[in-house]
Point group: C2
Chain length 873, copies 2
């Protein structure tokens, strides 16, 4: 028979998957002989069974719960519903990963009309007993039986009015007894039955309620954001109640073995005498610092310090502990690895190594790669944030905090920024023409677009804070204002963005600058020591390249050449190229673009100091470069000396029904090989130039959107012919490589053919995800919310590589490619390259490098180290 | 050493791939002891080598040619450049598949200043000799040396003027001698060198020219249209010249062993005395019927008849033969299986079985499935077509011929059709709202859209002629006219379309109706006997279903339920459903749609007489149902009793950047499960109704666009719950199946998961092709022309399944699916289901059925038989 229920004395910390974090640690502390109120854990498997059985607890599990309860009663020497020494328990959720506050808790379970009297006698405190019973009835009714709290609160309020008092504490035992009677009557009225007096019924119903709460909307959202699988389920911990509110010799508190803000090694926390946990949380009384306990009760403090030290030593990590003192006796209610700031995480990890408690590898695993973001971007000042009001929430598209005045056009952003004003660029959605505004803005806010929208991608590249797709923000660009739920924010009004959480504030919030400490360098050095994946960056200009190099990028994995053409001094030539009717005209325009592009590449090569630079040839549909509004077309036509009709007809002819599936990528070069020739000239001539000055450039030319070997072959032949001629004419030696992106499913399926021509593959997982799923990132936003709500997708496949589907294609491509070309270089340059989980997958399938936006380079370095430590190559 | 050159006496008919069709048959006739002017064949492998070596003939091949030439000179007893008995040859292309007129030919090669004298003496006809030399110089210069013919024609014209004569034949030997001198001088002037006098140089250059001509644009287009791989290359046949123009005892002719128009068994052909092949072709003199030869020269006629009979007996097929009589001696220049009309093809195949020459299986293989189209659709009257002028060409989107007056709206089409006028509906592109116009039109012409555009798909379904994507046709729908190269065609002007070739005529051309003979039924019966693939049809309404059933469809493989909602009496309810803001509103609209949909299904079931009917649930993006023009939105808003702004904002909110990758297919049901509920009710209630009347309906419910098992599971659960309840409530038994389309790459990759829920797979190869290649059929048109021109694609992957890429996914899905569910039903319902090559592929990978538009059902039946005969299951 399967075992679904474990006494605390029968488990240990290794059973986290089965017992949840809280349960496993309660077992472990029991094993270590620490003072833990005893109890038992209903396993996560029981939770799965509950859902499998159609949301019911089967007889087997129920009977195991009864048995465990009986055992526990023996251990603690109390009995459920006893009128002298009643056994009371807490019922708490406890998943494999901590999900604080997301699921339900029931305290004081076991109280009924009899037990309350027992409690009153035992504690000699009837007021306490009836207050506990009152609270239990309310909590149980609300959480387990779905009777709204407000039904009960009214009774309590009424009683206070009747007595003419303000505070709950002003009610005496009799008052509370009357309140309890009122509660029970109300319950019966609403539910049509008596409040359950049988503690075992209370218990089984409560276990169900906790299981049920695993599936509540709050928990589902939290899991999606934290990438916790729905399948895990939660365990339920049933633990003997201890009371911190039994008088001045009782109390309760929370403590950390180190400071969770700074990482400093000292006991950190607070406690309250004569209080229960909820009083600490409620903030009515101000708790005392934990150090005061030494003065208040030296023996107890020493005992606690000893336990804290032993726990940290045991878990080899900073612990976050909850404790209760009941009539002078210390009880440990929980211990877990403590949450900490990024700065603290670094310091603790490094200190633990210095203290000889952890190896470097172990220490690396203690720091979440994603956390590093905090160190690299400005954050809100905690004090200033306290009173700020969130007016809306969007996607946390690019981390960091920003405050500034709202502006609605790139031009205005540039004007105001010049005067020294901090600006936030607010747009419906951004387009490449907004680049100049984005460069000067402190933050970018868009009403539309997802995590891989233009705004998000570009902002991340620049390290600028961005909140994207804030649907409740209605932007009126022409009118220069936006509204949120009817409230209007005009140009010049201060707003603030938190790009790490997606929160938007309608006011000024102070920010503090990023601080990169020496610890950061130490940790990164360790990461580099233990990783096998190289980390490159996606950078389109020397500015980004320089930042990325500073963050440790080992080359450029993706330079999107088209981004270079959006700048004001270049776009005219680009547009001229696009509207050219003949090869000669087009050639003429390309000749204007050549020197600019060459100069860009020189800049990139120089910033990369000899690291490889991968240059992707022109990729987007050409119409992206052309204006769409009538006025803009008119203006451009005038500027270009052609008629409106002529330009308009070109713009129309470039219209596509599904631009994502249209004339772009290598398809452009197939139609206009002269573009590939120009870009090759720029790549090669720039490399020759930089190498003449002592550089060691080995350019990598990347052909995008290849789906058929003949496409690649044709363009590669043009590239090689052009390049070799220039090299020969210059009488120099220059190595260069030609490869392709694998972003079309067909390319992955036929990667063995593709590899006969491609010297490297770079997985373009943005497009590959779109094509493999058959939905575009621009359009999926509309229905993905439904997909999460209905648990069809656990998370966004554009944020984390879909290892099952897209990953299968990637593995296939890796294997097919290596079969034909064993030394083929394999990388990834989609947005997934900076996502720690995706980095782990890339490591597992044997890629050579990942490439990500500059500010994600440190994250990728640490993630790569994690991957290799967990699964060494 | 590889053998690249074969004497006619050394080959046979089995060597077609190596020697080409012409060469292999010349060898075979030689082997059979027939009078063939001797010679040799340079193989197709030599052609491949020529291209591999950068368009040159290597020394090895050249030396093999020289050797073969020397051998041939011995055999025929003549010598190159001899002044008494000069050896002259023809140099002709000959690919594996016949490509008539696409490549180059050189006649009379070997003539030079010496040999011409030898020829004059030998024939005792200096005029003939110099005329031959003149022609050779012109042909060689033009074809081989790229000197324009016009250079020479001017000299000849000048000579005729000088002599004051009209015809070439009025020039005498001396005149022609002077012309030859003029030609040679002209050649030298243009090329800067003497005309090559060395016959071996002439020969090698000519072989090169033929190889080169394999790659000319004409040949490339022909290959693409006929699906002949570029890689095959052409062979070159060098054959001793014989002259049909050596006097009245000479002649030349062409004959078929049966009538290629009707298939009647009688020698059919024509000949001319004292003439060369080109005279027959040129049509200056009228040839005599072959039967006249019996009177003219009984012995020769008997010899020819004997040869013809032996050839047909030998090849077991109708032969198309070329012959020349030189001074009373018969020479066979070519034999091949003759091209024939569809009607003839059927008759010949069936007669050959009756005559005991072929088995039924062999006979089936003699009929091209595609040819059957001719029998099922009206064709142009051959006489009337002779003088008709093609004004433009589009895609041959739906076969048949049509003539009628141009109209530019569906409404006008309906009006005029009611008066009995034949109409051609001309549109920029059609949309579902044009259906009523398409139903009444004789033909449909669109300026945009590809082979799988709305117009093409719907027209094929209805069997209506359609020419799509005719880019040079500029349609002005509002102005009610179109222009082609400036010429204007107004509403009411007659135009004609050939949907089998894509040709458009600016005038009335008489059509003749389709004729389906008893032979058709015989052949189809044989096809059914030998095929293992079932053939179903794609039909959305009882009308199409009935046609398809008549053509032998064994069920409906795809019913696109959305097509039912475009009709005028339904679209209001559909639109109401779409703009609903609440579930209640939507439910209300769905309740209106339910009875209509149920009635449609009853009709379909009845027309299918118990065969399976597969119903695909709502698939297209919802905005397709909404109007886009301001006026239309205004009208609709009024009709629906909502404000313009409200409706307009709904329309806008439904806008998608890439609708093909947007909110459609199963994604709609995930968001609005009530749609799936309504459709299930309609499917099941209709089945119960029909079965009550004695039907045997087993509906198959098909969920489209699934990419993830949980999508399918969720909707299947809803379907099953709804269906089972209805069945139970009705107290009946009803079997139904729930399956899915495999049209998203991810579904194919994870087909083992999908098969746990799907009872059947139907490959939606339109979408699967789009996603696998990453281009949409709507947008690819723009660049596919470049892809053909540059030989990146041999043909349209939307017309023939891309077996390498898309096919790999299909095979993977078949294997994964069968692993989990060995009896899974596998079909295809993309447009490829009616393409013979694709049918062959579907057979090979083990599908259970193909489904295609009604008029392609017979084609698919025959193609399925071909597939199983060639590759039995």
């Amino acid at each position: 028979m399967a075992k679904y229920v474990y006494l605390f004395k029968d488990g240990d910390a290794s059973m986290r998957n089965l017992l949840g974090g809280k349960g496993a640690n309660l077992c472990e502390m029991t094993k270590l002989g620490m003072p833990v109120p005893q109890g038992f854990t209903v396993s996560t498997e029981a939770c799965s069974k509950y859902y499998e059985d159609g949301r019911r607890i089967n007889e087997e599990i129920e009977s195991q719960i009864h048995n465990a309860l009986a055992e526990t009663e023996k251990i603690v020497g109390k009995k459920f519903g006893d009128n002298k020494n009643p056994f009371l328990v807490s019922v708490r959720s406890g998943a494999r990963a901590s999900m604080p506050g997301m699921m339900d808790t029931i305290l004081n379970l076991g109280l009924n009309d009899v037990a309350v009297e027992g409690l009153a006698k035992l504690t000699n405190n009837p007021r306490f007993a009836y207050d506990s019973y009152r609270r239990f009835i309310q909590m149980f009714s609300d959480v387990v039986m779905e009777v709204e709290k407000s039904n009960f609160e009214a009774i309590l309020e009424h009683k206070k009015e009747e007595k003419g008092v303000e505070l709950d504490t002003d009610l005496d035992a009799d008052d509370l007894k009357a309140v309890v009677a009122g509660y029970l009557a109300k319950y019966k009225k609403i539910k049509g039955e008596e409040f359950p007096q049988d503690p075992t019924v209370q218990l089984i119903e409560s276990v169900k309620a906790v299981f049920r709460s695993w599936d509540n909307p709050r928990a589902n959202t939290y899991r999606r954001l934290n990438n916790i699988p729905y399948e895990w389920g939660t365990a339920v911990n049933i633990q003997a109640m201890v009371f911190g509110n039994m008088g001045e010799d009782s109390g309760t508190g929370v403590a950390f073995t180190r400071d969770p803000s700074t990482g400093e090694r000292k006991l950190y926390g607070e406690y309250l005498f004569n209080a229960q946990g909820e009083d600490v949380v409620a903030g009515i009384r101000t708790p005392k610092p934990i150090s005061d306990l030494e003065k208040d009760n030296k023996a107890l403090y020493d005992q606690f310090v000893d336990i804290a030290n032993r726990l940290e030593e045991h878990y080899k990590d900073m612990q976050d502990m909850e404790f209760t003192i009941e009539k002078g006796k210390l009880y440990m209610l929980q211990t877990r690895n403590g949450k900490r700031t990024a700065q603290a995480a670094l310091k603790i990890a490094i200190d633990l190594v210095k203290e000889g408690k952890l190896t470097e590898k172990q220490a690396l695993l203690k720091v979440e790669p994603k956390q590093l973001d905090q160190l690299l971007h400005p954050q809100f000042d905690a004090e200033s944030l306290k009173n700020a009001k969130v007016i809306a929430t969007g996607l946390n598209a690019s981390p960091g905090a920003a405050t500034g005045v709202a502006v609605f056009t790139a031009e205005r952003a540039a004007e105001l920024a010049k005067t020294g004003k901090p600006v936030i660029l607010v747009r419906q959605e951004t387009s490449p023409e907004d680049i100049e505004g984005m460069v000067v803005a402190k933050g970018v806010l868009t009403a539309r677009g997802g995590m891989t929208s233009h705004a998000a991608v570009v902002a991340r590249g620049m390290g600028t804070c961005c909140v994207a797709g804030a649907g409740t923000v209605k932007v009126n660009e022409e009118g220069k204002f936006f509204t949120v739920e009817g409230k209007r924010y005009n140009e010049g009004d201060f707003i603030s963005l938190d790009g790490s959480t997606g929160k938007i504030y309608g006011e000024k919030v102070k920010t503090v600058d990023a601080t990169v400490s020496g610890d950061f360098a130490t940790l990164m050095a360790w990461a580099d020591k233990y990783r096998s994946l190289k980390v490159r960056t996606n950078a389109d200009n020397p500015r980004d390249a320089k930042v990325a190099y500073g963050f440790g990028a080992e080359g450029i994995g993706l330079c999107r050449t088209e981004h270079m053409f959006f700048e004001a001094d270049r776009i005219p030539a680009m547009r001229e190229m696009i509207v050219s009717k003949t090869l000669e005209e087009r050639q003429h325009a390309l000749n204007k673009l050549l020197p600019m592009q060459r100069q860009d590449f020189i800049g990139l090569y120089e910033e990369m100091h000899g690291y490889p630079v991968t240059i992707r040839y022109l990729d987007p549909p050409l119409h992206e470069f052309l204006p769409t509004e009538k006025d803009d077309i008119e203006a451009l036509a005038k500027e270009m000396g052609i008629t409106f009709d002529e330009l308009n007809s070109t713009v129309n002819s470039l219209h596509e029904t599904n631009p994502m599936l249209g004339h772009r990528g290598v398809r452009l070069s197939i139609t206009y090989p002269e573009i590939a020739v120009m870009q090759t000239r720029a790549v090669i001539e720039a490399a020759i130039e930089v190498n003449r000055r002592g550089g060691k450039v080995v350019p990598e030319i990347m052909i995008p959107l290849v789906g058929e070997i003949k496409e690649l072959k044709m363009i590669k032949d043009i590239v090689v012919e052009t390049a070799d001629k220039i090299i020969k004419d210059n009488k120099v030696e220059l190595t260069y490589h030609v490869g392709t992106m694998i972003e079309i499913p067909r390319a992955a399926l036929l990667a063995d053919e593709i590899a006969t021509e491609a010297e490297f593959f770079s997985f373009g997982t943005n497009d590959l995800t779109q094509m493999t799923f058959g939905f575009s990132r621009d359009d999926a936003g509309k229905f993905l919310a439904d997909y999460y709500a209905k648990k069809i997708f656990a998370n966004d496949p554009f944020a984390h590589v879909d290892t099952k589907g897209v990953g299968k294609l990637m593995k296939m491509a890796v294997e097919l490619g290596q079969k034909v070309r064993p030394d083929i270089k394999l990388g990834i340059c989609g947005e997934h390259g900076g996502d720690p989980e995706s980095v782990e997958f890339c490591h597992a399938i044997g890629l050579s490098y990942v490439s990500c936006s500059p500010f994600r380079v440190p994250i990728a370095r640490l993630a790569a180290a994690h991957a290799n430590i967990k699964n060494p190559r």
